[in-house]
């Protein structure tokens, strides 16, 4: 009926009304949690804001100040670390500059799909439902804002769960908790203070005078490791390959990185030639917050799997890595 009326040629106004009505129908048919999640995703990426973020993991706490400016197609973000060694991260669209005053260096990274708190949600949210049950959680009050929680409960034990809280007014993401299978918090990012809007460009400039500092560029180049004999025959279910590059580390000019993601969690497989190593290599598991690293030797390479997922998952991923000699 709507289509018939639209084709009836009642003018632009009717067509617009039809479009809005159709969109409203689509939105209405979506489950409520997913709709709310989309609003949070949009707000966190498209709003300008500044605030103080508290990161918690176990009994460890770190505070940082984040300034995010969206000006047309340009997105600028500055993160100042308030604890420990002073350092800053500046991101302009895909280019990331990490200012490290201790080593008087600037580390450059280029990333096509940069996501960091509070903009942690992927563009394709529907895909999340393949691996997570999405449900609305409780209403809470965080940093003076009333917010509503969305729960992402994993459908298997290969990944952690997430509890994401968005401001009811602006939908700005205020808190993100990573939880294990028992519901215990693995790590958490929370805005202790937030101001939406009113961000000036000057606020996004580095506070360091980086004159004379060295520049380290990671220099990513596309790669195909399957052609070189590498295979990961049974990667984790629900994870798809999103990147395959060769990059430069301090001592290793040709370290391979293959990234898999299930939409929100990501796992990187690093392939590092052992001949570049100056020190003995330890193989096994290391945990840093919600991230786990698992290292093993394969074909004179150090294979290191890094991911914010349970230790068993990174170990499982690492154990699938194989090498077979190519002609």
């Amino acid at each position: 009926m709507i289509w018939t009326r639209c084709r009836g040629g009642e003018g632009l106004r009717t067509a617009l009304a039809c479009m809005l009505l159709s969109y409203a129908c689509v939105v209405q048919s979506e489950p409520e949690p997913l709709k709310w999640l989309k609003r949070i995703q949009f707000a966190s990426q498209k709003l300008s804001y500044s605030g103080t973020v508290v990161y918690q993991q176990g009994d460890r706490t770190e505070t940082s100040r984040i300034t995010h400016l969206v000006d047309g197609h340009e997105e600028i973000e500055k993160i100042e670390f308030m604890d420990g060694m002073p350092r800053e991260i500046l991101r302009t669209n895909d280019l990331i500059r990490c200012y490290l005053p201790e080593s008087r260096s600037i580390r450059l990274e280029r990333r096509s799909d940069q996501r960091s708190f509070p903009a942690i949600l992927p563009k394709n949210l529907e895909k999340l439902a393949e691996n997570y049950e999405i449900a609305l959680g409780e209403s809470r009050r965080i940093a003076g804002f009333n917010c509503r929680e969305v729960i992402l409960k994993p459908k298997d034990d290969l990944r952690y769960g997430y509890r994401i809280c968005g401001d009811l007014h602006t939908a700005m993401l205020l808190r993100a908790r990573t939880v294990d299978s028992r519901g215990a918090t693995v790590e958490q990012f929370t805005f202790a203070q937030l101001r939406v809007g009113s961000v000036e460009r000057d606020q996004t400039r580095t506070s360091f005078s980086a004159h004379g500092w060295s520049i380290e560029d990671s220099l990513l180049t596309p790669a195909n490791f399957a052609e070189a004999g590498w295979s990961m025959p049974s990667a984790l279910p629900g994870f798809a390959k999103v990147l395959e590059v060769r990059r430069r580390f301090h001592d290793s000019p040709g370290v391979g990185q293959v990234v898999y993601s299930d939409g929100i969690a990501a796992v990187s497989v690093f392939l590092e030639p052992l001949q570049n190593r100056r020190e003995p290599v330890r193989t096994g598991l290391t945990s840093i917050g919600a991230s786990n690293l698992y290292t093993r030797h394969v074909a004179n390479h150090l294979v290191t799997v890094v991911g914010e997922m349970p230790p068993g998952s990174v170990a499982r991923m690492a154990e699938t890595v194989r090498y077979s000699q190519t002609r």
């Binding site: 176990g58 969690a265 330890r282 096994g284 290391t286 840093i288 917050g289 030797h297």
Partner: protein, 180 residues
Amino acid sequence: MSEEVSALVDDEAGKAEARKLLDAVLDAETEAREAWRLYHLISDTACGNHSLSKGFTERVHRMLQDVPVLRPVPLSRSAAAAAWIRQIPPTYVYPIAASIAGIAFVAWLAAGTHDSIDARAPTATQSVAVRGSDAAVTRVEPPSTVNEYMLAHQGFSPRNGFFTSGSRTVADEPQGQVEK
């Protein structure tokens, strides 16, 4: 007597027999008491009762040092071993057997756990059971390039650079705490 004590430890002795054996142990009969203590020590170790494992190795070593040193005799290996065993005073035979079994069991446990991950596991390791896999995973100290790995990975994860070069990591701390 040791077999009877073993049955008592394993809860396989009858009630009356158990009472009799307990009396024998409590009556300070050296061999039975020693066997009782060692069987429990091995049992506790096997069950992972770490409070009892303290000093276990030292006690076993001390016990082995108390064994008389015997001169080598020109015999075949098996004959030499049999002869060596025959010369050991009866009081020491069961404690030694139990000690060797205990050491072998603990070694087997350790070797089995490490082999499941990597035969070249480092010395500073700790085995833990993990979720998402039936295998035990060996925890190690982070590689020197851990921050580079983290930084390179974080662009594709929902986390930002909170763990960049400003943090030095120590994996063997509980729950992977990070040292500042």
